[in-house]
Amino acid sequence: MDYEAVIGLEIHAQLLTDSKAFCSCTTRFGAEPNSNTCPICLGMPGVLPVLNRKALEFTVKMALACNCRINEFNRFARKNYYYPDLPKNYQISQYELPISENGFVEIETSQGKRRIGLTRIHMEEDAGKLIHDETKPVSYVDLNRTGVPLIEIVSEPDIRSPEEAGAFLRELRAVLVYLGICDGNMEEGSFRCDANVSVRPKGEQALGIKTELKNMNSFRFVERGLQFEIDRQIELLKAGERIVQETRLFDSATGTTASMRSKEYAHDYRYFPDPDLLPIRVEPALVERLRSELPELPTEKKLRFVNEFGIPAYDAGVLTASRELALYFEETVKLFPKPKMVSNWIMTELMRRLKGEEHGIDSCPISAEQLAALLRLVDEGSISGKIAKTVFDEMFDTGKDSSAIIEEKGLVQISDQGELVEIARKVLEDNPSEVEKYLEGKTKLMGFFVGQVMKVTQGKANPAMVNQILMEELKKR
């Protein structure tokens, strides 16, 4: 029997506000434990939370970017649970009447375009951090992160494969980063993903029993964790066994998932409206203002790159994966208007040095101006493409201009007709037997002669001219 997977994702994104969601403590990461706390985020009696305007506006922006309906009237709820990462014993979240519902995101996979529905995007507060002692039966609590504003994005169970899950996550992350409302750092946990996974026989409508997957802190781990869990569930069903509804943790060291045994009892959050917070009104005028402030989003930008610059959709997808990279590309093209050549250089040489998409272009030591200048030298024939790559590496390492490096190392391309003719003649004289064979019809030896000229000139000879000159010189013999 064939099985299909049914996956729904819950994404938590930390909002890039300066202060926390309901108090004025800083959200800065990496401070001494509990140094960014106050009576409100410590959950002391008698305090009142007051919502951060920016957190509200950021949430509305994301909701609009994901085609959600904004609920003009919405409210906060208490999600009750006992776990020392939140000192109040509840998390301020939204349950009934969230700020936005019914959105969608379009993704592209090897199977083509698909639309993934969003159930809701709502506001909530982050919890603190626990460190469990390896040897003693104690845990240590740091409440610095407590109260940092989060949005939770809940997808419909529309995802059918780990690949789709990855594409969906990358798209959401790109939108968040484009909007400038989340830094999207999965390793540091400012962008986190939990998954609900079940399998069912193909064609079946009813959903199977699901498990919840946690602890997948990179795109690759999400894909690997999901694949493992899908295979595990299918094997269980094939063996006639039952799937237990539970929370499982992904272990990146082994690539497997294991049941999370927690002392917490069954999830029963007993949500109710938070009496400390009045309902929220998102006025239509605010929604319209925020809508007008939305930047060009990744999908639109990608389409424009294809139409405006005539580059392939694949290139456009890679270049628009981050807003900064897209900006870098556009700036370079403005100075050196050969988009495909720019795109090739960014996607091969530059990405190689930046080691893939997860390292930001903002750490790139080569400015758009410097890259454009280098490409212009290649285009004018001052240096060969091969030498340009050496120069590029040097630029990346030192931050120097291409012209300075070329001058320093004497790398200017030899395009002097007289000089090249002389070198070509010398090469032919030094290799009489190869010349003879060439004249007898072994024209493949052309490569050998070109190689010899390059060797003599240390790769600096203009390759097009070398070919032309060698051809003419050989004809004379």
Partner: protein, 95 residues
């Protein structure tokens, strides 16, 4: 009765309340009254009524995104029954 003793025990467990058997009986009766009262509300036809976000026509005020000084770590930890360094110390919460 609209509520069983087991349900009262479950709610007490979730609320971390240790109830004596007399208390369980007493609260069962009280909760039963509350639920019966709620049933009266359920009789009101609400099909055409928009869900209400709150009972008063007031909405939550907003504050500007401005950082103010936090408590000192010493003050933050002052009420804690147990401390380790700058952290609260609690019984281990995972196995």
């Amino acid at each position: 009765m609209k509520i069983t003793t087991e349900q009262v025990e479950y709610v007490a467990l979730l609320g971390r309340l240790a109830l004596t058997s007399e208390e369980k009986k007493k609260y069962s009766a009280q909760l039963d009254d509350i639920l019966k009262y709620m049933d009266m509300l359920a009789e009101v036809p609400t099909d055409d009524v928009e869900p209400m976000a709150g009972p008063v026509k007031l909405f939550t005020p907003l504050r500007e995104d401005k950082v103010e000084p936090s408590l000192s770590v010493e003050d933050a930890l002052r009420n804690a029954p147990a401390v380790a360094g700058s952290s609260f110390r609690v019984p281990k919460v995972i196995e």
